[in-house]
Point group: C2
Chain length 428, copies 2
């Protein structure tokens, strides 16, 4: 009768169980790193996004005027919200601030595989440290989160770059080039035909020869970064290369170096990045676009009216992450599990209810009859919910002081005195 809205999804228990397992893993790793969970609102002022990303972003928002006349938008990303929160309590919060949260976001975009209008992200951010070790901790967190899910260095790689290398290179060709436009072009480099891409660089102000030379420099290998510095002779590139190398060195201490690879054409589309940026890719290429990305954004807090506060973060998107996990064969089984079904036949409800309560108090997942069903129908239901064990509480058995404990997989069943069930060791 009513239809779901395009780009929004319902998650039934099987699929939800797998998603929950993945989100829990990713969050638990963040907790071990000392990231603290925050809770954030679903609506913010539309102006906040327009100021940060330009008026054209509004076309991609679920924005509206509320009944009180406020111009509001359903949050399309977390970063502006956490920036607002940092500014609001800047004095009270001890630095570095390390925050994590998982929740949906909303964008009015074209729906495609791995991209929905309602999408879930786990955002992990550090505020208050400009040190390379902070960038490295974000990279190491992301690597640990993925390996916790069962992924290995055969499955994914982090393509790491630095905004100031790109910016400095562009400047070294022509001080008047529109750096942001050129970086946006680089961000689309893999998706465009060479001609289109070069045309965008031209629009940004690079001559044809410069564009070609620039493009060649983007291919610089990690061991030749010094040559790149020598070629450009700018302090900006020199500092950026040093910073990038320091970050990569720090990832080695944290055990994440193997996942990182230099990739100067990794630009990240968002204008607010200022330093190291990175994107996670499926090494097999089956998942054709970035699984997620992150980087350093040192100017945003000040732009939001706060004290200058360096920041670095990453946002793991569930939609693309699930594609990668599925491709690698580590997406959890989409089934729910049940420890016990307590089957009740005849006038045994009180005893059955007592056993059910006992088992639940011990932490087991337990269902029992709440629909007044026959023996056969209950057994069928116990099977349908994947019950490991069915405890049959029957009148006859009970008269003899017993219940029947049936292991569903093997079909084995045994009689157990009712006052010895559940066994005292039977604790989840």
């Amino acid at each position: 009768m009513y239809d779901r809205i395009k780009g929004f999804r319902d998650f039934y228990p099987g699929e939800m169980s797998a998603r929950r397992e993945v989100i829990d893993d990713v969050e638990e790793v963040a907790q071990r790193y000392g990231f603290r969970e925050i809770g954030t609102p679903a609506l913010e002022r539309t102006q906040m996004y327009a100021d940060k990303s330009g008026e054209e972003i509004v076309e991609e928002l679920y924005n509206f005027t509320d009944h009180g006349g406020r111009e509001v938008a359903m949050t399309p990303e977390l970063t502006p919200t956490v920036a607002r929160m940092v500014v609001e309590k800047q004095q009270a919060l001890s630095k570095p601030i390390k925050w994590v949260s998982s929740r949906p976001f909303w964008r009015y975009e074209a729906v495609q595989q791995g991209r929905f209008r309602e999408f879930y992200q786990t955002n992990v951010d550090i505020f208050g440290s400009a040190e390379p070790i902070a960038d490295a901790e974000i990279l190491a967190y992301a690597a640990d989160a993925l390996t916790e899910l069962g992924l290995t260095s055969d499955d994914f790689e982090f393509r790491v770059s630095h905004r100031d290398i790109l910016g400095g290179l562009l400047e070294s060709f022509d001080a008047d080039v529109d750096t942001e436009a050129a970086i946006r072009a680089v961000d689309k480099r893999d998706k465009l035909a060479v001609g289109e891409y070069r045309a965008l660089l031209g629009d940004a102000g690079l001559s044809e020869a410069d564009a070609e030379a620039f493009d060649e420099l983007l291919e610089t290998e990690e061991e030749n970064l010094d040559e790149l510095v020598a070629a450009t002779e700018t302090e900006r590139v020199e500092n950026a290369v040093e910073n990038l190398q320091n970050v990569l060195d720090a990832t080695a201490d944290l055990g994440a170096r193997d996942y990182c690879t230099l990739s100067l054409d990794t630009a990240r589309g968002l204008d607010y990045y200022t330093g190291v940026v990175f994107e996670c890719f499926d090494t097999t290429g089956t998942v054709g676009r970035a699984v997620f990305g992150g980087g350093r954004y040192d100017d945003l807090i000040e732009g939001f009216g706060g004290q200058p506060t360096p920041a670095v973060g990453v946002a793991l998107g569930m939609a693309t992450l699930s594609l990668l996990c599925e491709r690698a064969g580590v997406w959890p089984a989409e089934t729910t599990t049940t420890d016990y079904y307590v089957l009740q036949v005849g006038d045994t409800r009180e005893t059955a209810a007592g056993i059910t309560r006992d088992l639940r108090e011990r932490g087991h997942v337990v269902e029992t009859d709440i629909a007044g069903r026959s023996f056969g129908a209950q057994l069928e239901y116990a099977d349908s919910i994947g019950a490991e064990t069915t405890v049959i509480v029957g009148e006859q058995d009970l008269a003899d002081g017993n219940v029947t404990v049936k292991e569903m997989a093997s079909g084995d069943q045994r009689q157990v005195p009712v006052d010895e069930f559940p066994e005292s060791g039977e604790r989840k």
Copy 2:
């Protein structure tokens, strides 16, 4: 620079930690009952709410026209969404369907203590059973969830009623009375002056004498329900009283009877309830209104175009629940905890990073220096995040093959050979 929207909240780590603990407890109890988590969208068709609750509900919605011309609303409650989901997969889902989910909802309402425009609920529902034991399981779940939080029967009570007792009583006075309007009046009984309340009953079609007699019958005690049946002489009231008594009996088997008390003037405002309804109240009265409520809504699925499917559920609201927990002194401490801080001084980064990784792999919450700070500043930070233990990795110590392990509460510290730390038993 940017302000938060009225009625929406930011949760910083301390408060969020307490909320997470409460939500986790409430969800874990639901899982033990065999309720399965689902995930649901934040937007639905506005029409769905207008059809279900009348056009006037739209004034309370965050509704708008999206960029594709759809009339949509941010979900003000879960019930219509789960009804839609049940209808969509009615054939595939094995019954009874037992679902749980925790998430925010949104209503454009007056903001007051314990009521926000963005509010969090844990919704727990059973579809496919009309049996009293299903109602009882919902009540028992709610009671177990609250006792899991540390609340006792001294803290809360469930005031239980039945829509058909109210409806049948009203009919017995006057077949033409507007039952829904009268029930809405009863729902406001405690909040209105007697005159106003009686006037609403009058508007619904009850004469003054009937209103007074009706009102007196609402005070009927549990042991006198038979008299109520005798007084009205209608099958509808008789059946409803029997059903209510069966539900209360079933709560006894499930250990929840002590929390339930008959309260015929508990009406629940929502029109879709059809059978047993209940509200949870603070027994001390300090929290002045219902903490949460629930009940049976057997007609909704059919109303949404599905097969007739009985349903019963409850929605625990975090805002009022936190008021009750605070009043009862069981709201969790609003602090975050840290197992280890790994303090790094001099050229010891590699070793410190290795210890940090080891401890995290063992499941501990561990922070280390990511801001290039001095010994003193690090120790101060370790203190500010409530680290239980600080592991000091210093150059001098390390030259001797040691680290210093400092217990922060006592100040005790001891030297431990670096290759014996963390101790092998040191697993969370």
